[in-house]
């Protein structure tokens, strides 16, 4: 979020600079709502610098410390008791901050078809989403989505890799 405002401020400044009028950027007080003034970044290259935005590297919002992955058994969508605390911690966190949104990203192991695995991953994500809503998170705060088998956490074609890939990740957006 703060990144977005930062870009907007910078964008407005560049727009004005391009007007060709007598407005000097230095004379224009730019209200800084981002908490970090333009050029304060350690990578900034002076007043004419351009901050490049790489969507590949956009970060998710600040998540509470601690684990944010729930692992599942083969062909299962049941949240095991050892992961109950993970779900509870995140439900508590977003319940306390109604402005926060999270995506629950479901994943499967590599076996089977891509579309059917997408639907299986969705079931895992939906199980976690429902649990969080039952724990008091607002329905609108939690979206369940799936990556199927497209984004494995571990490479390999054995149970060691598969068990790390059958998962739902809680992702702050």
């Amino acid at each position: 979020m703060s990144m977005k405002k930062y870009v907007l401020v910078l964008g407005a400044a560049l727009l004005m600079a391009g007007c060709g009028s007598s407005v000097k950027l230095d004379d224009v007080p730019v209200e800084d709502r981002s908490g970090a003034s333009v050029g304060a970044d350690s990578n900034a290259a002076g007043k004419n610098g351009v901050t490049s935005v790489d969507l590949d590297k956009s970060k998710s919002g600040v998540a509470p410390a601690g684990p944010r992955v729930v692992y599942f058994d083969y062909d299962s969508f049941v949240i095991k008791p050892e992961f109950q605390s993970v779900v509870e911690a995140h439900a508590r966190h977003i319940k306390a901050d109604k402005g926060r949104k999270v995506a629950i990203e479901g994943h499967t192991d590599e076996r089977g078809g891509r579309e059917y695995n997408l639907a299986l991953g969705q079931k895992r994500a939906e199980a976690v989403r429902r649990a969080m809503v039952l724990l008091g998170a607002a329905d609108s705060q939690v979206e369940a989505v799936s990556f199927g088998k497209e984004k494995p956490a571990a490479q390999g074609s054995d149970e060691a890799a598969w068990s790390k890939n059958r998962r739902a990740e809680i992702s702050y957006r």
């Binding site: 590949d56 995506a103 990203e105 076996r111 089977g112 078809g113 891509r114 579309e115 059917y116 997408l118 639907a119 299986l120 969705q122 079931k123 939906e126 979206e143 369940a144 989505v145 799936s146 990556f147 199927g148 497209e150 984004k151 992702s171 957006r173």
Partner: protein, 424 residues
């Protein structure tokens, strides 16, 4: 059981790099093939594409032809060949032609086909094409020969779409039906799956994860213009076009569980729910007459293929053998269902005769995915793994002849065979 493997390379053509990928595997007895001799085209030695070799490869990959060596015959379309030596070689048909560079830089491609047994001229064609369309001209020649000799329409001048993954970049490609001449329609840092050709062959619908969730785009191939058609809460996937091109069936999880919905393909708009279950319903595909949708559901406890009216309603089960049957594809003639079935932990391409329900596994591989029929219903393209590498294969419906398609480096998957192209 006869099993042989041969490189589709004739002596003298080994210098063509693209051909090194192309492999044909013939297995099984009782494969009836028409013996044909395709002479190298006059001018092939200086043209940018070897026309005779492209035609040969197309015909061989179809499984319907056995190629008789015709190298060094020195024939072209104007020849009046003496048929007796060709009869002695066992050829029933003979084709020869030429490729000539024109003053304006285009190429003039001509050929003629003869019935060797009857000593009859079966006709020929000529094309004036740009260098970029030389391969297309060769595929059209193969279509002509195929149609003349088998009575079925050839599908060599069609296109396939597929996805590659290399160095964490995903690309959606549009290529000739032999896998050559690939052009990237889309490149993304996030996965792309499930490309589906529009019935008129101008657009692809697909699932992109570029917004960190699966959403469905429709992409105009010629202009590169993209439309986001399904971006509802949850996951959006598995696009399938109705045969009239008006409706896109998609899988949405907006109501909590993955179900099949219909969307107006032109404007998107409010989706209409077509399947009604509390289980997973996904992978819709229309029957060629547009009346039914085949899809995958685990409503019976494990994934099986079902059929329901295209407007929704009661579903009937189609697959009964095995506990994991997914990824249905229906041939354009409505006779065949290709799908993936798990057998002892291996995922294998199967073909069902829809009239009788008879089903056959047709591969020796164990990680088959995403079958798609050629528009003439005579070949299937599918993804699989060979020596731990992803590969695209074509196979005849009986599984007796398979060919590995040429393609980009890296992982290659998600093939979809496009419709017949309009000839102009």
């Amino acid at each position: 059981m006869l099993k042989r493997s041969l490189l589709c390379l004739l002596a003298g053509l080994a210098s063509l790099p693209a051909w090194a990928q192309f492999r044909v595997e013939v297995s099984g007895i009782g494969l009836t093939q028409l013996p044909i001799a395709i002479a190298p085209f006059r001018g092939d030695d200086v043209a940018p594409q070897k026309m005779g070799a492209i035609v040969q490869a197309d015909l061989e990959r179809s499984g319907q032809f056995r190629l008789i060596d015709a190298s060094g015959s020195g024939l072209d379309e104007n020849a009046r060949p003496d048929m007796s030596p060709w009869r002695q070689k066992g050829a029933d048909s003979l084709a020869a032609g030429s490729v000539t560079r024109l003053a304006d830089g285009r190429y003039d491609v001509r050929f003629r086909l003869w019935d060797v047994v009857r000593g009859q001229d079966l006709g020929g064609q000529s094309y004036a094409v740009t260098v970029g369309d030389l391969r297309l001209a060769a595929h059209r020649i193969a279509d002509f020969i195929y149609e003349k000799l088998t009575g079925d329409k050839g599908a060599f001048s069609t296109r396939i779409a597929y996805v590659t993954k290399a160095a964490q970049r995903y690309s959606l490609w549009v290529a000739d039906a032999d896998g050559e001449n690939a052009q990237a329609a889309l490149t993304s840092p996030e996965p792309i799956i499930s490309p589906a050709w529009s019935p008129n062959g101008t657009q692809l619908a697909y699932v992109s994860f570029e917004s960190r969730k699966p959403v469905v785009y429709v992409h105009d191939i010629a202009s590169g213009r993209r439309r986001l058609v399904a971006n509802f809460r949850g996951s959006n996937s598995a696009p399938a076009w109705s045969p009239d091109g008006r409706t896109l069936a998609v899988t949405l999880s907006r109501d909590g569980v993955s179900q099949i919905y219909g969307l107006d393909a032109a404007v998107g708009g409010e989706p209409r729910r077509l399947s009604q279950s509390s289980s997973i319903d996904t992978e819709p595909v229309y029957s060629p007459d547009g009346k039914n949708i085949y899809f995958v559901s685990d409503r019976g406890g494990n994934p099986q293929i079902y059929r329901m009216p295209a407007s929704g309603g009661a579903a009937e089960r189609v697959t009964f053998t095995g506990t994991y049957n997914i990824s249905p594809s229906i041939s354009q003639d409505g006779r065949w269902l290709a799908y993936i079935s798990r057998v002892s932990g291996a995922f294998k391409l199967h073909v069902m005769d829809l009239a009788s329900g008879n089903t056959n596994p047709i591969t020796e591989t164990s990680a088959d995915e995403s079958p798609s029929f050629a528009p003439n219903s005579r070949l299937i393209v599918y993804a699989t793994k060979q020596q731990d590498r992803e590969a695209l294969m074509t196979t005849t419906l009986d599984g007796k002849l398979k060919a590995r398609l040429a393609g980009q480096g890296g992982d290659i998957r998600e093939p979809d065979w496009g419709p017949f192209q309009k000839q102009n």
